[in-house]
Amino acid sequence: MIAAIIVPIVAVVVIIIIILIAGVSIYNGIVTLRNRIDNAWSQIDVQLRKRYDLIPNLVETVKGYAAHERETLEKVIQARTMGMDAKTVGDQSRAENMITSTLKSLFAVAEQYPNLKADQHFMKLMEELNGIESNIAYARQFYNDSVLQYNTRIQTFPGNIFAGWYKFTTREYFEIAEPEARGPVKVQF
């Protein structure tokens, strides 16, 4: 008689406990992934800041040899300011892609000045910038992997239910947006 009441109650309690434990672990899993994105972002940030610190130095060095390449130099400075002011991931990635491309044209300009190219200080800056550039690429890879995992988790079952309850929103990728790499290849004859 008593067993007939107790058994279903125990069964219900056990099921509730299992659901609670599953819920907690799903929730914690999502938060862990979200924190990993923040950590990945800070890794990118460290590398970007290193690059911001180098740029004024680089511009000064180039000025010493090629002062009249004002336009190119100003573009680099402009892109740097844009990067430092960026608020969202999208703005940041656009600004960083601009810095990369302006630096490229700066190096192309430097090609025309043999004295500059031979400058020890300039060579060292180039080397450091190349190292930072590849670190940015690696950091971006880790960041985008983390975003992919997190976005997939909160868009698929059962994560999507929790995303609705606790307002988990999808995060933005840090994109490589070099226009020439993106668009269809134009062929001119």
Partner: protein, 327 residues
């Protein structure tokens, strides 16, 4: 990933537990025989067991904290700086960013053979060691593949288990040597003083224990194989390829390494931490096929080549050429 880490933690605890039980049992056995010989209820068995237990616990704790340093000094690895080797330094820095790990310390082994290993107790306290030969003979993509392989061992927390096993296996080997040698020494003395019966019996007991330990060593080798299963080498290869996004790099690297991977400073206790067997083709270990800690390198290369879809694989002649000349 999380399951790998949890399983490694379980295995580490299990191995340490086994080690402590083993040493304590040894202490008890020695004490028991001494008790038996003198026939008095002197309690040597309990005393020696407690003593051995204490030593085993202290050893286990210290191997948790210091085994990585022991491994580094066993293999003769020395720290490497950014100024001396910028190429390797920036590679490790970049790849650890890509793997989402703190940057490990980098050590160098002055060996001509191409090999590498990782050690440490967690990602915050980890080390990657490269031989001079591997730095000299591998191009950038190949070396990145090797470093990424080691980084995924660090990420999966394989390193603690592998490193602790070095110490514990080494310890068992040393103990079995002590028992065997003590038998030889006391055996020599016995022949001069034939009448001293007690010394004779003890040396026989020690010989017996030594022999049992020797007989146990295949079992210990089996234990190593269980703990550092071949599966985790395949897994580290795959995860490494995921970090570099270039499986052909590691595939080409393994092909080069299979030509010459000998590390003179390696021994039975440290063999399993290396990326490829440090004994090369002429293995020193008996039953090497049975107790190999590494999966066959051909199979690892085949799996990576499959992953690469044929992109970036080097031809046999290019590989041979580059080993001869260096990169």
């Amino acid at each position: 990933m999380y399951n790998r880490i949890a399983s490694n933690r379980r295995r580490t605890v299990f191995i340490i537990f086994l080690f402590i039980v083993f040493i304590a049992a040894l202490g008890f056995a020695v004490g028991y025989f001494i008790d038996y010989r003198y026939g008095i209820n002197s309690g040597y068995s309990i005393l020696l067991m407690v003593f051995a237990l204490l030593i085993a616990v202290i050893m286990s704790f210290s191997s948790y904290y210091w085994s990585d340093k022991l491994v580094l000094s066993l293999t003769g690895a020395v720290p490497m700086t950014r100024e001396e080797n910028p190429r390797e330094y920036y590679m490790v820095e970049g790849l650890s960013i890509a793997a989402g790990l703190p940057m490990p310390k980098i050590y160098i082994l002055e060996e001509q053979g191409m090999n590498a290993f990782a050690t440490g107790r967690n990602p915050q306290n980890s080390v990657i060691a490269l031989t001079r030969g591997i730095m000299h003979n591998l191009d950038d993509d190949e070396l990145k593949g090797v470093i990424a392989h080691e980084l995924s061992h660090i990420k999966n927390h394989d390193i603690l288990l592998q490193t602790i096993i070095v110490v514990l296996v080494g310890m068992v080997t040393i103990i079995s040597n002590i028992f065997l040698r003590s038998m030889f020494f006391s055996g020599g003395r016995r022949s001069s003083r034939r009448e001293s019966g007690s010394g004779g019996l003890i040396s026989i007991v020690f010989l017996a224990i030594g022999l049992v330990l020797i007989l146990l060593s295949p079992l210990i080798a089996l234990l190593i194989r269980f703990a550092v299963s071949r599966q985790r080498e395949y897994l580290a290869d795959a995860n490494g390829a995921l970090i570099t996004r270039y499986p052909a790099g590691l595939a080409n690297a393994l092909r080069k390494m299979s030509a010459f991977s000998e590390v003179r400073a390696a021994n039975n206790a440290t063999e399993h931490i290396f990326i490829v067997s440090p004994f090369g083709k002429n293995s020193k270990v008996a039953f090497s096929g049975l107790f190999n800690s590494h999966p066959p390198i051909r199979e690892r290369i085949r799996r990576l080549e499959e992953m690469s879809l044929g992109i970036g694989l080097k031809s046999e002649s290019v590989i041979n050429e580059e080993i001869k000349d260096g990169v």
